[in-house]
Structures are given as C-alpha cells and as structure tokens.
C-alpha cells in the first residue's frame, strides 16, 4: 500500500541497508496501518537473517521461520507478486491478458521473479542491461539492492556502460552475462569494491 510516509521509510532503509532497525520500525508502521502480512514478512526475514548470521541457520527456529517465509514467497503466493509490483514497477508489471475478460480475470503480474527478497525487502535484481540502464537508479532509490545480475549485455554500448556506472556503485556484487574478461577488468576499475563476475 502506498502510504504518504512510506518513501521516507524506504529512504531510511536504503540509506542504512545493513541496519535492521529501520526495517523493523517500517514493519511496525505497516502493522499500525493495516498491512499485517507485509509487517510479518519483514520481521520473519530479519529474524531469519539474524539467525543465519549467528550460526543458527540450521536451528528449529530457523526452520519454523523458513516455513512461514515460504507462505509469503512460495510459488503460489500472491504477496510475492504484488509486493514485487509495488517495489519495482519498472520491471514488474500488473498486466492485462487481453480484452473481453473481466478486469480481475484478465489481470496478471509479470516479472516478479526478477527480485530476490531478503530482510523483508528486495535485495537482488536480475534484468537486462538495457532495463538497468533505464531504471537502475530509480530502482536503487527505493530498494536496498546489493546484488545485480545483468543479462543481454551485448545490446548496450561502452558509452551506455559509462552512463550506468553511477547506478552500479556501492553494490556488493554485479554479475554480467556474455562479457569478456577484458571488459570485466575495465568494469572493475570503474567499480572499486564491487565483486564483478562474468557468466556465459
């Protein structure tokens, strides 16, 4: 749901992406505003990440949380689809499957699989390099993205890459498909601190 105060919460989370406090405060805000599912999901993933970080990732408690997490993220979850559409409308689309049907019957969500959720928010995104060029900055403004996987990189020119550098700075890892090692080296020089991988 789009609350007037929500962008401020997102800005705080993006600005301090390692800190869980802002996320948990956002969860409280959501619960107070009637979005109990989203609040529960954030708390579950934050707690799960904490357990994994402290070596308790295989505990019974972690298993219990994973079961709950799956209710939200499983392949039959509507939450995952709709949250993805709200978090990243640039890549995830609420689309219509053609005229002649009832609006609800025709409605479908496309592209939700491009996001991976961690600690309650989209942390990883996979998209074409052209899409990232167009939308990367906007996506990172609203989501604490740490990992980016770019496909179809052959469609963007070196000049395009120069333009994209700003939106790729500060990531933890960048994966590029179909790029030569020479190019990856060049990219590493422009993105110090970012782990860059090339895949075929």
């Amino acid at each position: 749901m789009e609350y007037p105060d929500w962008p401020a919460f997102l800005a705080a989370i993006v600005g301090a992406s390692d800190d869980d406090t802002a996320r948990l405060v956002a969860a409280d805000f959501l619960e107070e505003n009637g979005d109990a599912d989203r609040a529960a999901f954030i708390r579950i993933q934050v707690e799960l990440a904490r357990l994994e970080a402290t070596g308790e990732g295989k505990s019974l408690e972690a298993d219990r949380l994973r079961t709950k997490e799956r209710e939200f993220l499983g392949p039959l979850s509507m939450h995952r689809q709709l949250w993805a559409a709200e978090a990243c409308p640039e890549l995830v689309r609420v689309a219509s499957r053609g005229a002649g049907r009832d609006p609800l019957e025709a409605m479908t969500v496309e592209g939700a699989d491009c996001l991976v959720w961690r600690r309650g928010f989209a942390e990883s995104v996979r998209c074409s390099a052209a899409d990232w060029e167009r939308h990367g900055s906007a996506i990172r403004q609203r989501n604490p993205i740490r990992f980016v996987h770019l496909t179809q990189t052959h469609w963007v020119t070196r000049d395009d890459w120069y333009g994209m550098i700003v939106s790729l700075r500060g990531l933890e890892r960048l994966t590029v498909e179909d790029e030569e090692e020479g190019f990856v080296q060049w990219l590493r020089e422009w993105l110090p601190g970012v782990v860059i991988e090339a895949t075929k």
């Binding site: 749901m1 789009e2 009637g34 599912d37 392949p75 039959l76 509507m78 689809q81 709709l82 559409a85 709200e86 409308p89 640039e90 995830v92 689309r93 609420v94 499957r97 609800l104 019957e105 025709a106 409605m107 479908t108 969500v109 496309e110 167009r134």
Partner: protein, 214 residues
Amino acid sequence: MSAESDLIALDDLPSEARELIARTENAIAVARERADARTGELRGAAEAECAAIRDRAEAEVALVEQAATRELAPLVRELVNSLRKMQEVYAREGKLDEALAIRARIRQLRGNLLGVRTDPGNLTEFTAHEVGRTVLFEVVGRTDGSVWGTDAYTADSRLATAAVHAGALREGERGLVRVTLQDGGEQFYQGSTRHGVTSYDYGGYSLAYRVERV
C-alpha cells in the same frame, strides 16, 4: 536494321556526337548522384525522426504502465485482504457456503495473478525460442494419452499424462504443475513405466519440457 549494321553505324559516330553524349551521360550521373544523396538524407532523417518518436512513445508507454502498476497492485492487495476478512467473518458466523465461495474466488484471483493456465493438452503451442521459460498449469492427472521420454518429455506429449508419469500428480488429482521448457533437439527421449503410465522412446524432438508439482 540488323545488329551488325548497328555496330558499323556506332563506329562511324563522329567525335562531336560522342563528346555530346559523354557530357550528357556525365550530367545525368551527377544529377542522379545528387538526387540519390538527397533521397538518402531525407530517408535517414525520417528514420531518425521515427526512431526518436518511437523511443519517446515507448518511454511514455513505460511510464504509463508503471503508474498503472503502482495503482493496481495496492488495489488488488486491498481487495484480497478485505475478502479474507469477510471470509473469516462468514466462517465465524457459521455461513460456510459463503465462506467457501469467497475462498474459491480468492483462489481464482490468485490463479489469475500467477498466470496459471488451463490444461492445453500438450505444449506444441510453445516454440524453441521459449526454452527456459516456466509456466504454471492447472491440470487433472490422467493415465491415458501418449507421452515420449522420462523426466524430460517431448512438447507434443500429453501434459496431464506426463504429470502422472513424472510423479507430479496422481490419476484424477487436480493440481498446479510448473512446466519448464527445455531445448530437446540433441537428446534421446528414453521411455519408461512409472506410476501406471508407460512412455515411449523418441529420437529427436526440438522442444522438451519438465513437469513438477508446485
């Protein structure tokens, strides 16, 4: 006049006439070249203008789509939340038929949002360009119908039967299955008997699929 006499006549062409013809040919070539260059310029400019208009339109369309998505996603979420609360109220009041009807409607809505499709019979509607794609289908398991392969099935294999063969569904069971399209050109499809279904061998079929329970 014969062809031979034509050649003789050309040999006799005075140099004055030859020069006149050459000058004219040269002028034609220059004019043609100028016209071609101008035509090329105009076409190039028009194409660049069209491309710019198309790009602007695509960018505007994308913005409209994004705005629609921002508006629609919360609407649907609110609808689902409200329906769930309504379902709980009806269930608490003992109005089970109404509660079940609401639950069925929510499930239907979920199926739409997830892009769940009805059983198409087989998967020949897909092409090799769609290798890697996954699609959800609602299927009732069957043991009749033809299936080629084991684990990976040819695209013309009956989905409902392949789902039983793969162990994703039992016969008569209705359920959601996830189908993943695979490149099938290089592989040999080995038949086998599993879960009461016998599949056939097949030598080469360009598109294959795997089917699993969701």
